[in-house]
């Protein structure tokens, strides 16, 4: 038998020595930020991060790299709670940012008053996407509960847009029929027309566009435009209802993370720059309605006008909304159990 030289140990030792070096280099020497966001913002923040890096370099000489993580809004909040080191969160609704303080205080409870326009540099609304030629003749919320119409909306338990969809439908019914009981009935009928509830805005869009499910996709305006751009011309049509919700996706610095990492100045600069003309213009280009009236005026032809209901007018803030509608055994759960019965 040939004597076997333990060369392999030398190789193993070399690899084990090199490994920590690799881990070291993956944490870059320049300033890095992590933006924890929700799904439909990916294209916008790709463009914005480059613009910001350039601006920050000119302003301070520092090289800044912004990493992005995207997923369903509620799930992303959960990840930050579990320890994802997001310097900033840019989520679909302020309720998800409030949720960061569920176990420990990760963020100043007054975060929403720290930046202009309730910390929402851009806003959006909920619209419909229908198939070519609008075969089911959908024009407003009332048409969605006609016999034979199938709608796609994600699950409000995990998805931010799904909550906006729910509230938009509720607000429409409340305005039209004038009572909570009628609104309940309308929303219940609406969910009876939903064959599946996906986990997030993006998976819902994919079900509608690539898997060919459903007649109407209820979604973010920017998500609907992006889907239009990504598909063949004329394959889908965007329908703006008469009334919808004013959806303000907020942004915030996660205090506990930036204080630990020492990145507060950059993180605040990053969010403030969203309100600059450059940030606002980029938002408009990616189909978010800019909060700054001047830029909004420039891009007003890009967006349909409709009556937008602010949630504070009908509901009393996200805490109340979640307690009333989306917590376990509340209105949404009741509706779903009545439907399944």
């Amino acid at each position: 038998m040939k004597p076997y030289q333990p060369k392999i140990w030398k190789i193993l030792a070399a690899i084990l020595l090199i490994t920590p070096l690799y881990l070291q280099t993956s944490i870059a020497k320049t300033v890095t930020l992590l933006n924890v966001s929700y799904d439909p913002t990916r294209a916008f923040y790709h463009a914005y991060n480059q613009a910001f890096a350039q601006y920050w370099k000119e302003k301070t000489g520092d090289h800044v790299v912004v990493y992005e993580s995207h997923g369903p809004s509620g799930k992303q909040a959960r990840s930050v709670i579990d320890g994802m080191q997001g310097d900033v969160v840019t989520l679909a609704l302020s309720g998800d940012i409030d949720a960061l303080n569920k176990y420990k205080q990760l963020i100043d409870p007054k975060w929403q008053s720290k930046l202009p326009y309730h910390s929402s540099p851009y806003y959006s609304t909920i619209v419909f996407l229908v198939r070519k030629g609008n075969p089911k003749n959908i024009h407003d919320w009332g048409d969605l509960i006609k016999p034979g119409v199938q709608i796609l909306t994600p699950n409000p338990k995990t998805s931010g847009v799904a909550r906006w969809n729910f509230l938009a439908a509720w607000a429409y019914a409340l305005e039209k029929y004038g009572s909570e009981a009628k609104a309940y009935d309308f929303v219940k009928q609406l969910y009876q027309h939903a064959p599946i509830l996906d986990t997030g805005a993006r998976s819902s869009s994919l079900s509608f566009i690539q898997r060919g499910l459903g007649d109407v996709l209820i979604s973010w305006e920017n998500e609907a435009y992006m889907a239009l751009n990504e598909s063949k011309p004329g394959e889908f049509e965007l329908i703006t209802p008469s009334v919808s919700i004013l959806a303000e996706p907020p942004v915030a610095v996660v205090d506990s993370v930036v204080d630990r990492k020492g990145t507060r100045v950059v993180a605040e600069g990053y969010l403030n720059y969203l309100y600059s003309d450059v940030g606002q213009t980029l938002a408009a280009q990616y189909y978010y309605r800019p909060s700054n009236p001047k830029i909004a005026e420039e891009y007003k032809d890009k967006f349909h006008t409709l009556k937008l209901i602010p949630i504070d007018k009908v509901f009393k803030g996200w805490k109340e909304i979640n307690n009333k509608f989306f917590k376990d055994n509340k209105i949404f759960d009741r509706i779903m159990s009545e439907i399944n019965r």
Partner: protein, 279 residues
């Protein structure tokens, strides 16, 4: 055997063979060709462009890194576990043997959640980890840990059965001739198990490269930092970029094919080793 019966069984055989090929075609060949056709539908230039992208490159790098590290660690621990189980008698041996197989039966989502609870902010370890700036979940170490967990049984499994079969006689002889523990391992045990070890490594590599579920929960999907190739494929698909998603799938597919051929080769070596030992 009468010719009639022979003819019948021949017919049966070809029917069976045909059905196998139909099922194989529907379940494997069709999807695989879809990947190839879709992935190359925008031409080789686009295919190449997908990989020139730093985000895709970092995903490839991370996948290779996590695979390499988990294979190395699994080899070390797998050999130790197999050695321990087959050469010694101790209390709880059956329990340990069963526990080694546990990752096969645990759903990946549970693996992901276990690590989230253990190293996340709800954990009692968390203040300690933060003090030393050790980010485990939503970072590379968590991905490696999850990969090791799901691939752990492969090396140990392929060694234990072989080593049990081979018994301890050769080692006992070496001991009587005055060899120490290391000498026994390097000169007696290792040459006997090396092909089975390689087989375990190959299986472990294949699983580590393709791992999606557990890693998806641990990763946090940070582009350019914690996305592995399978996660990157999902993201590209979700971004209406199906062609790029399939382009990357082709790379994973090629890597899997290479692994498969190495596996075949190992298995032949193992069978040869067995028949030599039998003679």
């Amino acid at each position: 055997m009468t010719p009639v019966i022979y003819k019948q069984s021949n017919l049966k055989r070809s029917v069976l063979l045909m059905m196998t090929w139909i099922v194989f075609g529907v379940i494997f060949l069709a999807p695989l060709s879809v990947i190839l056709i879709e992935g190359l539908s925008k031409g080789l230039g686009f295919f190449w462009h997908t990989f020139a992208n730093p985000v895709a490159l970092s995903a490839l790098k991370l996948t290779l890194f996590a695979t390499l590290l988990s294979v190395i660690l699994n080899v070390i621990f797998g050999v130790m576990a197999a050695w321990c189980i087959t050469k010694y008698d101790f209390v709880g041996k059956n329990l340990l043997t069963t526990l080694i197989d546990l990752p096969f039966s645990i759903s990946p989502i549970i693996v992901g959640l276990i690590y989230t609870l253990l190293y996340g902010s709800q954990s009692i370890l968390y203040p300690f980890l933060m003090e030393y700036n050790l980010q485990v979940i939503y970072a590379v170490p968590g991905i490696v840990l999850a990969t090791i967990f799901v691939t752990f049984p492969f090396v140990a499994r392929s060694l234990i059965s072989l080593m049990q079969e081979q018994g301890n006689t050769e080692e006992e002889a070496a001991r009587l001739l005055g060899a120490n523990g290391w000498q026994i391992f390097w000169h007696v045990t290792f040459p006997n198990i090396r092909w089975a070890l390689l087989h375990g490594v190959v299986m472990c590599t294949a699983r580590a490269m393709g791992e999606f579920g557990a890693v998806s929960i641990i990763s946090g999907h940070i582009e350019g930092l914690t996305n592995t190739l399978p996660l990157q494929i999902e993201i590209l698909y979700n971004e209406y970029n199906a062609t790029a998603a399939f382009s990357i799938s082709i790379i994973l597919l090629i890597m899997a094919m290479i692994i498969l051929f190495i596996r075949q080769w190992c298995e032949r070596r193992i069978t040869n080793a067995h028949s030599e030992a039998g003679q």
